[in-house]
Amino acid sequence: MKITVDEDKCCGAGQCALIAPEVFDQRDEDGVVVLLDAAPGEEHHGAVRESAQVCPAAAITVDEDA
């Protein structure tokens, strides 16, 4: 799994940082997503998929085959 985030799209809702805090964080100054781990271990895949699904700005892309 390979994750990319689009900082320009991100609206700082914080859903990803809530659901997968080992993978996503937020910049303190404006809440924009910070990707902590672009290729997380399998134990995080479920939470990453949910994060991408509920991201209101579609700012998270998950490549399952990478």
Partner: protein
Amino acid sequence: MTDTAATNTADLPEYPAPRDAACPFDPAPAARAEQAAGALRRVRMPTGQAVWLVTGHAEQRTLLGDARLSSDVTNENYPLPVDRPRPEESSVGFILMDDPEHARLRRMVASPFTVKRVQALRPAVQRIVDERIDAMLAGPNRADLVQDFALPVPSLVICELLGVPYADYDFFQRNSAAVINRDTPLPDRDAAMGALFSYLAGLVDDKAGSPADDVLSGLAQRVRDGEIDRNEAAKIGVLLLIAGHETTANMIALGTVALLEHPAQLERVREGDEATVASAVEELLRYLTVIQSGLRRVALEDIEVAGETIRAGDGVLLGLELGNRDARVFEDPDTLDVHRGARNHSAFGFGVHQCLGQQLARMELQVAYGTLYKRIPSLKLAVDAAELPFKHDGQVYGVYELPVTW
């Protein structure tokens, strides 16, 4: 198209429609009938404007994530909730604007609402909640849970975050209540909005001279740096003050009514661990969806969705309370089940306008629900539920009063 359509809308169903008094937690039966008929329906607003009502969860998410739907209140076709002259600018900061200006302003005030900052605030919220419960328990064993608990808790928190003196609570609560009531006569609503604007503008001026660690001081600094003007700063302050306390207050009170009416669910919350309480918060957000009049948008281009074509210039309402009862997404959607784990609800909206304060709201609700029923296990309604004054006329649903005893 609105001018010609307005003369032909008499036969369309009205939205919003009245709820069934016997089912105060459920969406209006007429709106449910439209949902049963399709994901996209034509309805008539109170202004007479014919608009699309989006009833499906998936369709709402698709459309709220589509930049071809605009939130720009100055667009000549943007659906206004009441008959009034078209505003020349948004009166409540960035929520009635589009990107990129929306994103620029929103990011200026996002910092206190991140997951980490909100978690750091949890002990302070716990203290506020405990103090309000202490005060209730010290008095006679009867209270109005709205005035004594549901409103003060989020109001104290947002005052602290923004840098608004809580001593002014009566003033700003009275005016924000007038602003969000659908039936407030227009001149009164404008006067209330004007009073809040002047008040926040004055606070921004004060903070410029004596800054503190709060949102209004940050905005005052940006005014001084020329990033925004005083007018914009004050409007963002109005938005955060209203949104920061009315919504959560209604969820605390209405959620308590719902749980008292579903004792087995209440028992699970009272006996549950933190994860159970967090799950209950998501389910109550879904089940109650207090934003009850639909999110409003206008199409900038033709958009194909669910076999229909939304034309450029068409108004669109997203009925969140309907999408959150969509049986295609939520099994047995009309059942309150605190173990459902319903994190994919749309109670905070969707798209780039999704609620900026949602993590704060979640935490406040977790602390409020997680503490109140444990500390007052015999809490019960002091009147019959049917006698409660539900906010049928509010942009935000809830109860005006909640007499309880224990």
